[in-house]
Symmetry: D3
Subunit: 210 residues, 6 copies
């Protein structure tokens, strides 16, 4: 046997233990922890654990906001577990809007790949709005946890690819958090300054109760 090949075997045995820590594909049926899901058995991992095809499919924008978000977070794309990154696709038909929302656990980077999008975020403290109309190829950042939005700014379908600084950024859409919940309307009104009429109307529309 060739000595280099022997070396190969030697060093492989040394480092074999490191193998499964190059990555930690999520076992979504296993335990979740503060650092992410437990790892899938490395011997069952294939290239398809690192490949996701869902972002190539146009989202269905036949809804009131004429928009769709297709996530590739850890639940859809288990390979992202522990890697500090994930992605999503954003489709905006003409007139489409992604309502004001936050990602509690990640910063976002958006790249326009088709059409034109007006996007912005609101700072805490000073309530300053940073917003701009982005054209194809423009990239915009939304710092972690801040309210932000995207609106189709042209007459044609717009598409953006977004990535996040976490495999599970979370998504809290303000209107849904306010009106699609079970919090009594008087409480909602107290904590938002909104009118009773407005709160009850939107609770009705968005499926809130109480």
């Amino acid at each position: 046997m060739h000595p280099l090949f022997l070396l190969s075997l030697l060093l492989l045995s040394c480092s074999a233990s490191a193998l499964q820590d190059d990555y930690c594909v999520a076992n979504l049926k296993g335990a979740n922890t503060p650092s992410g899901y437990q790892c899938k058995d490395p011997s069952t991992v294939t290239v398809d654990d690192f490949v996701f095809s869902g972002l190539g499919v146009e989202g269905n924008t036949s809804n009131l906001i004429k928009a769709a978000v297709t996530p590739a977070f850890v639940a859809q794309f288990p390979g992202t577990n522990g890697l500090g990154i994930s992605a999503a696709r954003l489709d905006l038909a003409p007139g489409g809007v992604v309502p004001l929302h936050t990602h509690p656990a990640a910063s976002e980077l958006l790249i326009v790949v088709q059409g034109s999008i007006c996007a912005g975020f609101i700072t805490s403290g000073s309530n300053k709005v940073y917003y701009k109309t982005l054209k194809k190829g423009d990239t915009m950042l939304f710092p972690q946890g801040l309210l932000h939005f995207q609106i189709n700014a042209g007459g044609t379908n717009a598409v953006a690819l977004v990535s996040f600084s976490s495999p599970n950024p979370g998504l809290q859409i303000t209107a849904f958090a306010l009106f699609a919940n079970s919090l009594p309307s008087p409480t909602v009104e107290k904590v938002t300054f909104l009118d009773d009429y407005e709160v009850k109307k939107l609770k009705g529309v968005l499926g809130g109760t109480n």
Copy 2:
């Protein structure tokens, strides 16, 4: 000279370099970085850099929400810099409300020290509300980045002490972010589903423009 004393000098010189890294009191006039402010010169640090007296003072609740938040974040309490923790005092007169808000960069732990407070948070995704009326001594957690609120639940002044998992948790009050900004009203309406009347009324009240 006594040999132990010599040892003392010896080992002190060894470890002297570690001294200033036990802590990093913020030099608020110096550079800020992603990990916090640059450190104040350790030779000028005194015990008062680690002590803050502002939380003993009742906040002024003579305002519409009958509430006051007194922060001890890094800007008010530079000793917190780099220590992963900060605090605030919450005063709620009868009828007082801390409106719906988020801390983009920290989880919060609240302890009621006087009176009774109804507090809650809303999850992302499912818009589930976890809320409860807390009495003196009760502690409640608000996970990072999620919308939450506090309401005086009794007929007397309520006081809570809150701490945060960051020296600079940030504070984004939803109503202010929505209505105290310069974003044109039609845009606000589009991204919140709110009526034009409501948006313009609250923009007027809260000092928003456009």
Copy 3:
């Protein structure tokens, strides 16, 4: 069906996967990991997982140090798991003392809510002591891992609420570490410079062996 409601369903399904990562309530009977305990099944989580009532109860100070520490760490308050924060209550009867100790894994922020407390910490390297008598409302910081103490500085009961930059800060009381262990007395003497008489006396009192 109303189109906004449809949207609601649509987006909920998109983000449902993010739900359980807003928080990770500890399953204390499950696996522990370097980042904390595995998460409790989110479908069984209730508001009571985020509320702890133990800090409202006065600790029993009928002991030699006339002091009591009531923790709300992850073992007592599983909701803190993964949130980077926890708390405790400190009761000091007149003459009460919390002996010199460290928290190996967290910085501490203490707020005096009743009485008066003399508190201090000792830096590494220079052995400088930062200490001060704190009155009601005063807040003091103790940087991670440094020796610190609290002493009732008045004639009445004193109470402090403390928070930590970790769900499990640890607590190593120096006198107990030195004398309530099974390390042979000659070894203790060698590594502390203390007399044989002193070591054996305190081993006896604190329950040490050998």
Copy 4:
């Protein structure tokens, strides 16, 4: 003056200190630190600090590898500082190749937006190769620090947008590290097992010395 407006002023003053920590746009002429560059003065920040237009421009692939990488790392896009994310554009003419390389400080997520790309990475320890031909819309992950490559797999120009889990992922192209350096050829040969002829040839081509 309206009481809510007063409140607005009150709370703004409370939280004003948090303002500049929502983000930390890099001051590239200021100090760099282990956590990133010092922050630009927040009063000079504009929306353009969060927008980058370079990824919309096709890279020049008139070179031997028929490929171009256009980075939007912190040096090109200072707004990414401290946000845990950055991006790049990849252009591959027919026959184009991004040679084997690593990012020492980040995981990578690649989305094909035009054409077809064969991409893969090599694990440590077992030297297993995970590779696949990706079509438009496919996303692939490359775990931190592992060797990986991309090759145009079709007859037309291919474009990919890539994002990274760090504002400054680094880029170490193996062939350049091996042959475009000043390390003496015998040393290169010893540490790579390559022939003297091969090393000297590629040193010549790639501009290495010694």
Copy 5:
């Protein structure tokens, strides 16, 4: 019973929950997570979980590179789990070489304890080589993820002790990654600029296929 002893019991019960979080010895048969392995049951932990004797044994350098690496990573030394550190021993017979490699997940600190070693690393971007001949007692740093090598620089056996900033640094030896894999030779050639002859020769020697 003595009151101090009672105190001892009291405080122990308070802090008992912190016990198992002082450390998290890996249960290698349990779940792995992005933060490391699940912890071994603390009640079964002994001092031997924190002691490893393998680094005292000379590695077998009877191979072509005349070198051996003996790791004390988490797989060999489970006590390192969660502690942010691990180690290895490096033996280099005369003429011995540790070929160019990276640790994807850690920085390295090497101390020469016998003989003389020429060591170096190559920066990303500028391909600058920092290298030096180290004598007994010299320490050298290799920043995370960068290509580096070690060569016996004397006529006698050389030994180095190395430590890493992670319990599982990983080890990717460039020559093995390139030639001991199953990637088709034409692909290897394309992504490395190497000749077909060279690639096939080294694939043969190192056990690569295709």
Copy 6:
């Protein structure tokens, strides 16, 4: 000009910005921050910034504890800045002792390279002692922030190399913290349970005041 060389220039310009982030050698005269010192200008960095020779020099053990600690922390070895690792050398003459101490900011890994050392640490909560006599080649771990000690266990000089999971682990020697400070003796007695005689004697020996 050769096209590959052109490519070389092209890609170098792309990645030049990443250069200085491969490492961040401390500028000890510049600002310190919570993440470490600001970086030295990369254009002035040489290989000697990554090499430290002090650990090859025997420490002076002509003192009462017959021991010496030679640190290679960030203050002595600025190249460790931001790399998450540092080192030290430990010399123990026969009878030598490194007294009980903690590193507030790091875990420690010790390798015996000469002689025999009895080393141990004490857990928090249960005050359990894990200790063992280590021979040449044995490695032992000391988890972050816990009290630990080392004692020469043989009749000859012993030497250990230790590494830490931080560039600046800190070093708090308990006896010095207790007795080499300016805290009034009655206070020391109260927080340690030690006798007045013992405290005053050791204050005298170790240079404490008050």
